[in-house]
C-alpha cells in the first residue's frame, strides 16, 4: 500500500479573534518519512490540534508550506489521500456503523479507484466491530464508536492518517488496548500516521519519532527518535529504551533542570 512522506516547513498561523491576535503557530517544522508513525506532544494550547488541522487542509497557514508526498495539502485532500480521526467519533447518528464506514466511498464515488484493498465489512472486522454492522452509533459505547471512526478513516486507503487524541475520552485500560489495535491496523495498512497526544508514555510507545511542541507561540521545540523495534508489545513499556526516550521527551517538555517552564506558561 502507498504512503506519503510528510514535510511541514516553517508553518505559521495567527488567529484573529475578538481580542488581540493570538499566534497559534510560529514557524513550526517537522518531517515524517512515508510509512512512519509520528506523535505530536505538548501541553494544552500549544497548537497540536491546529497543526493537524493545517495538514488536513481544514485551516490554511498564514506562512510556510506543507507537502504530502510532494503535493500540497489541498491536492492531497482532493485526492482523498488524508484520513482524519477526530477527538470525538463524529459518526453520523442516523447511519448505521456499516453506512458510516461506507460514507467516504459514497462521497468519492465507487468508480474512483480510491476504494481500499479492504471492504467496509472487512474493515469493521479489523477494528473488532463484527456483529455491530447494523447498530446505530448511539447504541455503541464511546470506544466502539471511535473504532468505527477509525474504520471510516481507513476505507479510502489514505496515504496518511491523522489522529487527534482519538482515545482521549477513554479510560486508561481501554485506551491501552485501543492503542495496540491501532498499531496493528497501522502496520497492516502501511499508511503514514501522525498522532496528537498529551501522554508521554503513549507518544513514545506508539511512535518512531516524537515531536515535542512548546506553547505561545506554538512551535516544534524538539524531535525525539524512539529506538524501539516493531511490533511494539506491552513488555516494551518497561524497557530501558522506552524510559530513555520518555525522559528525552520529558526534558523537551520541562527542560533538563526539571523546571516546568512549559507547564507554568500554560497554567498562568
Amino acid at each position: 500500500m502507498s504512503s506519503r512522506e510528510l514535510v511541514i516547513d516553517r508553518v505559521s498561523l495567527v488567529f484573529h479573534g475578538r481580542g488581540d491576535p493570538v499566534i497559534a503557530l510560529d514557524s513550526a517544522s517537522l518531517a515524517l518519512p512515508g510509512g512512519g508513525f509520528g506523535a505530536i506532544i505538548g501541553p494544552s494550547g500549544c497548537g497540536k490540534s491546529t497543526l493537524l488541522r493545517l495538514v488536513a487542509d481544514i485551516l490554511r497557514p498564514d506562512a510556510g508550506s506543507i507537502r504530502l508526498g510532494g503535493q500540497t495539502q489541498r491536492q492531497a485532500r482532493q485526492e482523498h489521500a488524508i484520513g482524519f480521526v477526530f477527538q470525538q467519533p463524529t459518526l453520523l447518528p442516523w447511519r448505521s456503523v456499516l453506512q458510516n464506514v461506507e460514507l467516504p466511498l459514497a462521497i468519492v464515488g465507487r468508480r474512483s479507484g480510491r476504494g481500499g484493498a479492504l471492504s467496509p465489512a472487512e474493515l469493521i472486522e479489523l477494528v473488532g466491530l463484527k456483529g455491530f454492522e447494523n447498530a446505530l452509533p448511539g447504541e455503541l459505547s464511546g470506544g466502539m464508536q471511535q473504532r468505527a471512526a477509525i474504520a471510516r478513516a481507513l476505507v479510502l486507503r489514505p496515504d496518511i492518517l491523522l489522529l487527534d487524541e482519538p482515545f482521549g475520552a477513554l479510560d486508561e485500560i481501554t485506551r491501552q488496548r485501543m492503542n495496540l489495535e491501532l498499531l496493528r491496523i497501522w502496520a497492516e495498512s502501511g499508511t503514514t500516521a501522525l498522532l496528537v497526544t498529551h501522554s508521554i508514555a503513549e507518544a513514545v510507545f506508539m511512535a518512531d519519532r516524537v515531536f515535542v511542541m512548546s506553547p505561545r507561540p506554538g512551535r516544534v521545540a524538539q524531535t525525539v527518535e524512539v529506538a524501539l523495534p516493531r511490533p511494539r508489545t506491552l513488555e516494551m513499556m518497561r524497557s530501558p529504551e522506552l524510559f530513555a526516550s520518555a525522559n528525552e521527551v520529558r526534558d523537551g517538555l520541562f527542560g533538563r533542570t526539571g523546571h516546568p517552564s512549559a507547564v507554568n506558561a500554560e497554567s498562568w
Binding site: W94, L103, E139, T174
Partner: protein
C-alpha cells in the same frame, strides 16, 4: 397503544365532563353537549364529508406550498449568510399580519376561489415551517462539517448527507406546529368567501343560530388537525429512530 391512551385521555375526559354538565343543566344554551353534536354528525354524515374534503384539500395544498417555499428560503438563507436575517425578517412580518384582516383583502384581489384559499393557508402556516427549516439547516455539527470537508464533499453532498438529516428533528417540529395553523388558515379563508368547506358551514350555521352545527364544524376542525398531528408524530417516530437512542456508558 398506552401512549395513545395517555395522549387522548384528557380530551376524552373533557368531553365526558361537558356531557355531564350539559345533562345537569349547568351549561348555557349556546354550548351543546358533545352527545348532541355527535348525533348531528351521525344524522348528516354527507354534510360533514362534502365540506371537510375541500377544507382538508385547501389546508394540505397550502401547507405543501408553504413547506416548499420556506425550505427553499431557508436553503438560500443558509447558503448565503448575508440574507439570513432578511429571510427571517420577511417571515416575521408575514406572520405578524393578522390573517383575519388580510383574508377579505386577498379575496378582493384574488377572488374567492381556491387560489385565495391556498395563499391564506400558506401565509398562516409559513412561520413555524420557516423557523424549523432555518434552525434545522443551521444545526449541523461543526465537527461533522469538518469531517465531510476532509473528504472533499461537494456542497450538495454536504446538504444531502449532513445538513438535511440534521434538520429533520427541527423540520418535524415545524410541521407539527404548522398543521393546526394550516387548518385554521383554511377555515379563515373560507369565511372570506366560499360555498363549501367547514368554514362555510360554520359561517352559515352562525348566521342561522344553528348552535349544534357550529360546534360540529369546530370539533371537525379539531379532529382533523389532531389526526394530521398524530400522523406527523408517527412519521417522525419511524424517520427519526436514531434521535431516540440513548448513549451507553463506555
Amino acid at each position: 397503544m398506552r401512549r395513545l391512551w395517555v395522549t387522548t385521555l384528557p380530551t376524552l375526559m373533557l368531553l365526558v365532563v361537558l356531557e355531564g354538565l350539559k345533562r345537569a343543566g349547568a351549561l348555557p344554551v349556546f354550548i351543546p353537549g358533545p352527545g348532541q353534536v355527535l348525533a348531528a354528525a351521525w344524522a348528516r354524515p354527507q354534510l360533514l364529508w362534502d365540506n371537510l374534503l375541500p377544507t382538508a384539500g385547501t389546508a394540505t395544498e397550502g401547507f405543501v406550498i408553504a413547506a416548499v417555499v420556506t425550505l427553499a428560503a431557508a436553503g438560500i438563507g443558509t447558503a448565503v449568510r448575508r440574507v439570513w436575517g432578511a429571510v427571517y425578517g420577511l417571515g416575521v412580518v408575514l406572520h405578524a399580519i393578522p390573517v383575519i384582516a388580510t383574508a377579505p383583502l386577498l379575496a378582493l384581489w384574488l377572488g374567492t376561489g381556491a387560489g385565495m384559499h391556498v395563499v391564506i393557508v400558506a401565509l398562516a402556516a409559513q412561520f413555524p415551517l420557516l423557523v424549523g427549516a432555518m434552525q434545522g439547516l443551521a444545526a449541523a455539527d461543526a465537527r461533522q462539517i469538518e469531517m465531510l470537508h476532509c473528504l472533499s464533499a461537494s456542497r450538495w453532498q454536504m446538504f444531502r448527507y449532513l445538513q438535511l438529516p440534521s434538520a429533520l428533528p427541527f423540520l418535524f417540529a415545524g410541521f407539527k406546529v404548522a398543521t393546526p395553523l394550516a387548518v385554521l388558515g383554511a377555515v379563515t379563508a373560507e369565511w372570506a368567501g366560499a360555498d363549501r368547506g367547514i368554514g362555510a358551514v360554520m359561517l352559515n350555521a352562525l348566521f342561522s343560530y344553528d348552535i349544534v352545527t357550529v360546534w360540529l364544524a369546530v370539533l371537525t376542525c379539531c379532529a382533523f388537525a389532531g389526526l394530521a398531528y398524530a400522523a406527523w408524530s408517527l412519521i417522525e417516530r419511524s424517520a427519526l429512530r436514531w434521535n431516540r437512542t440513548v448513549e451507553l456508558p463506555t
